[in-house]
């Protein structure tokens, strides 16, 4: 309703994708990127000449785990949204619709890999064992991070879009140097070398337009850095559709940099896992970077401050809800006899328990103290910081009597 002034193609849902595909094919003179899909929206498992092999390695327990992870992070998302509505969080960035892209890729990473997220990667955080209560600290305004990246190899969220992409490439260049140093020291032969590692960096279709993505891909390609660029194309950069960021499938851009680009159905957790596992191993083995475009959809708002009814039709959201990542895996698990009602009831119960933990932790979280900001601005002693802190302490001490008097009055 509110969006009738916009071209109708904006609201054709998959129609727009098809149109762009046709335009891209015409421009490229060859078929645009094919999308890897193993588990279709109807819950049946298809085949792929390269990636079926990876899917076959997944046993029932792994698949149930994927489902439990996706359900947990969706429940977490609902709880965080509710906490924002209650005024407990300043802002929330929902991920609903992108669970498969995040759980599938995160579960394909290994502990020695290092992950750079943007700010919507709550699902990836779960796979890296980040305490989800700590993750909310940033959105509650009590920390600009919330967790120690060294504990989980999951970096802090970065809010300046794409700024983390060169960090990822630099980190990967460090891994390369570590390996060469280990080889030079004979550690590789002696078997005492660290397991080979790669870096994975997340960004979106909107951030793909940032210059830092381009510079990162140039550096990664030039130095053959072990990095996987994981782009979640969720179709909307706040209110602007992907068509404004790119007229060809984003995965095709990799070709211009000279490394593989793969488009995968981002709502198919099995395919995302397979493709990411392949890409990370490709990078770890010294074969260079890979771009993965996970074709998915942000079913909810950009943030709790956003209003999608102003720029897109609910019919488009309905189209994508029909491709829901959880529903299709549930269908598959049930049809294969890998999970029964009891399993799904347990998942729901676990989700509610997680939500209760999140609520409790948020209510009980410590108030921050500006003294920690003074302490953490620099590593080494700094005369200006010391002078300003001393002034602040002196100034604050001047109110001590008043506080006591107020307390007594109450």
């Amino acid at each position: 309703m509110g969006a009738t002034h916009l071209p109708s193609t904006e609201f054709d849902g998959t129609g727009l994708d098809d149109q762009l595909e046709a335009e891209a094919e015409a421009a490229l003179g060859e078929p645009a990127a094919e999308m890897v899909q193993l588990l279709g929206p109807d819950g049946t498992l298809g085949t792929d000449s390269v990636f079926s092999e990876y899917a076959q390695r997944l046993d029932a327990e792994k698949l149930r785990g994927f489902y439990a992870d996706m359900a947990a992070i969706r429940r977490f998302d609902q709880e965080a949204t509710a906490l924002q509505r209650q005024g407990q969080l300043a802002l929330w960035v929902p991920l609903t619709g992108q669970e498969a892209a995040q759980i599938g890729s995160g579960r394909a990473s290994q502990p020695q890999d290092y992950i750079f997220p943007t700010y919507r990667e709550h699902g990836v955080a779960l796979t890296r064992n980040v305490d989800l209560a700590e993750l909310l600290r940033q959105f509650r305004g009590i920390s600009n991070g919330g967790w120690n990246p060294k504990d989980t190899n999951f970096h802090l969220y970065t809010l300046v879009l794409a700024a983390q992409t060169p960090h990822a490439v630099g980190y990967a260049m460090g891994i390369q140097r570590d390996q060469r140093l280990a080889e030079a020291n004979g550690l590789a032969e002696s078997g005492t070398a660290e397991p080979k590692a790669a870096v994975m960096v997340y960004f979106g279709d909107g951030a793909s337009s940032e210059g830092d993505v381009h510079e990162s891909m140039v550096f990664a390609s030039s130095y053959n850095a072990p990095v996987v660029f994981f782009c979640q194309n969720n179709h909307w950069a706040i209110s602007v559709p992907t068509a404004v960021q790119t007229r060809i499938p984003l995965s095709n851009r990799a070709k211009g940099y000279g490394f593989p680009g793969i488009r995968v159905d981002g709502n198919d957790v099995i395919a995302v896992h397979a493709v990411t596992e392949w890409a990370l191993e490709h990078a770890r083995q010294g074969n260079g970077p890979v771009l993965i475009e996970a074709f998915t959809y942000r079913v909810g708002a950009h943030t709790t401050a956003d209003d999608p009814t102003k720029y897109r039709e609910s019919s488009e959201e309905a189209l994508w809800r029909a491709k829901d990542p959880l529903e299709r895996l549930e269908k598959y698990l049930r049809s294969e006899g890998m999970a029964d009602d009891a399993f799904f009831e347990q998942v729901t119960a676990d989700g509610n328990e997680l939500a209760a933990y999140i609520r409790k932790s948020t209510y009980e979280s410590d108030a921050p103290d500006i003294r920690t900001a003074f302490a953490n601005t620099y590593v080494e002693a700094h005369p200006l910081v010391a002078e300003e802190l001393a002034w602040f302490e002196d100034y604050s001490a001047g109110f001590a009597g008043e506080d006591a008097a107020e307390g007594a009055g109450n």
């Binding site: 920390s143 120690n148 802090l156 300046v160 630099g170 990967a172 060469r180 830092d212 005369p383």
Partner: protein
Amino acid sequence: MTTMTIAKAINEGLRATLSNNPKSLLMGEDIGPLGGVYRVTDGLIAEFGADRVVDTPLAESGIVGTAIGLALRGYLPVCEIQFDGFVFPGFNQITTQLAKMHSRSSGNLTVPVVIRIPYGGGIGSIEHHSESPEALFAHTAGLRIITPSNPHDAYWMIQQAVACQDPVIVFEPKRRYWLKGEVDTGAAGLAEDPFKAHVVRGGTDATVVVYGPLVPVALAAANAAEEDGRSVEVVDLRSISPIDFDTIEASVKKTGRLIVAHEAPTFGGIGGEIAARISERAFHSLEAPVIRVGGFHMPYPVAKVEEDYLPDIDRILEALDRTFTY
């Protein structure tokens, strides 16, 4: 003691850094076989190899951004930005990422990146090659900024910058790259404090605070003033962030008059910050208002008129004349 130019002193400082810290590495445009456009990294790639002296793609944001990633992995990157005016494609990485990483990680992460920037004018160059953008970085908490004015400081300050656990920007006075001086490479230089100002000429009647390329100019002005019977103290600031206000305050409490000179425009500059702080700290010692000498509020002008733009001996002498009218 060895005599060498500032460029050679930085080269030797970098060589010492690469020799002493296996995790240190240099990165930048044309710093490999060419040795950088000013030859500051001359010969280093032959000695330390392409893993330690990295010719990068032509992308300043990429240089600083990948340096941050390398630092997160435990490396000590020293980035060269080719010219002052070309740092701005990397400004976002420096101010929003590098400066804040330690703070936003609650102290869990450190990013000891060093960024070398040749700066300042007086070389008759074309647009974007003669600027002094130090105030833009000084305004950003989390960064440290130093600038050597002589070969001895150049040799040691680059090594001190690498040893510092905070990000450090080293502004190198490009028109003084060929200035020769004594370097004491045997000194326990690493233990010296790079963030402390030095009184480079004693005096009793007025204080002139300068840094980088203007230090020789201020010394020449002080010598000229001496002929008029005025005893001028010259302070080489050395560190632009933090600023060693204690040394300036002590000097002003002795002389009662303060002039701050830099090539950067005076508006919103380092001189204004020093004027404000010293007004607070030494109000009753000041015989005259603090006078700033600097560039005008305009984009750096074309080379044929840069002489009219840059503070020179006469501009500092004029400021001295003014301070003595109070």
